[in-house]
């Protein structure tokens, strides 16, 4: 059953003279599937991730995106989150003065309310958070720090996956979650992601390198070039890319 359906998606940088980045992208992700999107720099990987999350710096010029049959492009970013779309940012944003615990509780309760669940009180929230922190081997002091402020690159990425674990979306989009991670951090982060795999939850893993896919093994791999998917396959496509480079795949695809 398709969870996400992307049809002929065109998007450009918003504003006058904005560059066209996505040029007719099609993709269907069924519930429970993990899809990886790979591609060279500038191919549109991060744009796709941001467009799906509702970033207003991009303008969709053509095409449709449906989440569970609903028009995703018609929703505000907060509505998409509440409907179950989660973007783990490539560059998580620092928010000085706002504590992680306040931020996360506000987010979780916004999502729960939308799903018709009761808001969590402080005790239940703490219990939940502790459990999820264990998953990502995080220190308790983390909750009192301002959101991402002064975090190392690795801590920020871990925080993204931690939020993913707390909010339990139906579609998780991981935008270059591996960049800036050393091998130990990568193992922890990937372990967290793998623990969240389920028959109901789908994932879209955007990455530049095959390395991440050794840890998060995808069901499908797609190659994105110049704003379109030029090749799709199973996990062995990632290895092929590693061997031949994007140029080789491009030559074969044309």
């Amino acid at each position: 059953m398709p969870l996400l359906e992307i049809e002929n998606l065109h998007a450009r940088v918003a504003g006058p003279g904005g560059r066209q980045i996505l040029k007719g992208l099609d993709l269907v992700i069924n519930a429970g599937e993990v899809h990886a999107i790979m591609g060279p720099n500038g191919s549109g990987k991060s744009t796709l991730a941001q467009v799906l999350a509702g970033r207003e710096t991009y303008e969709v010029t053509e095409g449709r995106v449906r989440l569970d049959g609903k028009d995703l492009l018609d929703m505000d970013p907060e509505e998409r989150c509440r409907e179950g779309v989660f973007l783990a940012f490539q560059y998580p944003v620092e928010i000085p003065g706002v504590s992680t615990s306040y931020f996360l509780k506000a987010a979780l309760n916004a999502v729960r309310k939308h799903r018709g669940l009761e808001e969590l009180d402080a005790m239940d929230f703490l219990r939940l958070v502790k459990e999820k922190m264990k998953l990502l081997e995080m220190d308790a002091s983390f909750m009192n720090r301002a959101v991402n402020e002064g975090f190392s690159g690795g801590e920020k990425k871990r925080n993204e996956v931690f939020q993913l674990a707390v909010l339990e979306p139906r579609l998780a989009i991981l935008d270059e979650t591996d960049s800036g991670l050393d091998i130990d951090a990568l193992r922890i982060v990937a372990g967290g992601v793998n623990a969240l795999r389920s028959a109901e939850r789908s994932m879209l893993v955007v990455t530049h390198y095959q390395r991440l896919l050794n840890y998060i093994v995808p069901d499908f791999v797609h190659v994105l070039m110049d704003g379109r998917i030029v090749k799709s396959g199973n996990k062995s496509l990632a290895l092929e890319l590693e061997a031949q480079g994007y140029a080789g795949v491009e030559a074969a695809a044309v």
């Binding site: 999350a53 509702g54 970033r55 207003e56 505000d76 970013p77 907060e78 998409r80 989150c81 509440r82 989660f86 973007l87 940012f89 998580p92 944003v93 928010i95 000085p96 003065g97 706002v98 504590s99 992680t100 306040y102 931020f103 506000a106 987010a107 979780l108 916004a110 999502v111 939308h114 009192n144 720090r145 301002a146 939020q163 909010l167």
Partner: protein, 439 residues
């Protein structure tokens, strides 16, 4: 000056001539009156008043108040959880509403009129020290016109555990706008420490508060001095605060501007003894067509003095703000370490800010930095919060609150910090017990 301003000045001078009070003060008042008559009221042609137009004040005919009492209920929103709370109504000490904490030792808290009548020695010493200071036309107007206020004296070594709250309220009389001239004098002797809060509050109708506060800290004294300006939105507020910080003493100012149609604060702090230090925190939260002008002067007169200044403003609607922060390093004030920051958040395209740092440095071994930013909310931060399910409005509120909480988080006078955070939370439609900020 315009004809209107001339007329208004004439009226102020006439009113000042009828001021009652200790006879021995008359020459001093007369001198202030003559200075005011000579300088006149400021206008926007003067550098220090370039961005603050006092026309709304000049256009209004203010009367001197004749009654100084009020129902306690009128102040319910402004009282604080402290031991000592002194209420001034239209510039006069209101005995029925004022209360002092039991068992206070080493501190004198009295009506200024009474202390002047009684010629309290510490007050006389103080007046002698400051008599040469002239802080401009409105301070002169206050000097010529004040009838009462508060006198606080901390004997050497006195450590006050709970804050002293001065609740200064004004109200119109028979539908006519009044002008009030409260005056507060604080002398903290060697090694004493205290927290003093001024709250300016409305008690009905239109008015103009023209207040002057003088503070003197002896060696090693410590004072956290908070000002909550919560005047009526139709009121005017001009406040001059002059502080002298002695050797090794530490002065903290928390100045919050929330109310009043037009506000001008002049905060002049002189680090007059070696290793004296000061932290000046300012927070302006206004909207509508409110205008707040904060002028600060930090004078480093002696070597080895650190100072830190953080002024933040949140301007909504058509509000306008001014910050002029001058740091003056006198010759010989070596090893000065001074940091000034001013940040303004504009919540609307129609809000405006003029921020001007001004450094005057006459010593060569000093560290002075300043930074100033003005702009809207960071769109990336807004998007990040929205992508986690927070509604657009909620995201903006949270970020605005956090911006201001950077200042309130530095306030150590608990009732002030709490009150400000409650006000901020209420402004942003957030629950009152909210702790967005870390820590």
């Amino acid at each position: 000056m315009t004809q209107l301003a001339e007329d208004n000045l004439e009226q102020f001078l006439d009113q000042a001539r009828q001021t009652r009070g200790a006879a021995w003060l008359r020459p001093w008042r007369q001198a202030a009156l003559e200075r005011l008559a000579a300088t006149g009221l400021p206008d926007t042609h003067q550098e220090e008043w370039r961005f603050t137009n006092i026309n709304p004040i000049v256009r209004t005919r203010f009367v001197r108040p004749s009654s100084y009492s009020i129902e306690a209920a009128a102040l319910a929103d402004y009282t604080l959880d402290v031991g000592t709370e002194i209420v001034l109504v239209n510039g006069h000490w209101c005995r029925p509403l004022s209360r002092k904490e039991d068992g206070l030792l080493g501190v004198e808290i009295a009506s200024l009129a009474q202390a002047l009548e009684q010629r309290r020695p510490a007050l006389l010493r103080h007046l002698e020290q400051v008599q040469a200071q002239h802080d401009g036309p409105f301070a002169d107007l206050n000097a010529a016109s004040f009838e009462d206020g508060v006198w606080i004296h901390l004997a050497p070594g006195t450590q006050l555990r709970r804050p002293i709250h001065l609740l200064i309220c004004s109200r119109a009389e028979d539908g006519r706008a009044v002008i009030t001239h409260p005056r507060i004098v604080v002398v903290a002797e060697e090694g004493s420490s205290a927290q003093i809060i001024e709250t300016y509050a409305p008690a009905g109708g239109d008015y103009f508060t023209n207040t002057v506060v003088e503070v003197s800290l002896g060696c090693e004294a410590r004072l956290e001095h908070s000002k909550m300006q919560q005047e009526a939105l139709t009121a005017y507020h001009i406040g001059g605060t002059r502080v002298t910080v002695g050797k090794g003493a530490h002065y903290v100012s928390n100045s919050a501007s929330l109310g009043s149609a037009l506000t001008r604060n002049d905060l002049n702090v002189s680090l007059a003894g070696e290793t004296a230090s000061a932290s000046l925190h300012g927070l302006t939260l206004i909207g509508g067509r409110q205008h707040v002008d904060n002028h600060t002067l930090l004078e480093h007169a002696q070597p080895g003095c650190p100072s830190l200044e953080l002024y933040k403003a949140v301007l909504a609607d058509r509000a306008s703000g001014v910050f002029k922060g001058k740091i003056l390093v006198r010759p010989g004030a070596q090893k000065t370490d001074s940091k000034q920051t001013s940040r303004t958040l504009l919540l609307s395209d129609d809000a405006t800010m003029n921020a001007m740092p001004a450094l005057e440095i006459y010593a060569d071994d000093v560290k002075c930095t300043h930074g100033s930013t003005t702009g809207p909310l960071d769109e990336e931060q807004v998007f990040y919060l929205r992508s986690r399910g927070l509604h657009l409005d909620a995201a903006r509120h949270v970020l605005t609150y956090a911006f201001a909480a950077d200042v309130t988080g530095r306030i150590r006078t608990e009732p002030v910090r709490r009150r400000l955070e409650e006000i901020m939370a209420a402004q942003h439609g957030l629950p009152r017990d909210l702790r967005i900020a870390q820590g």
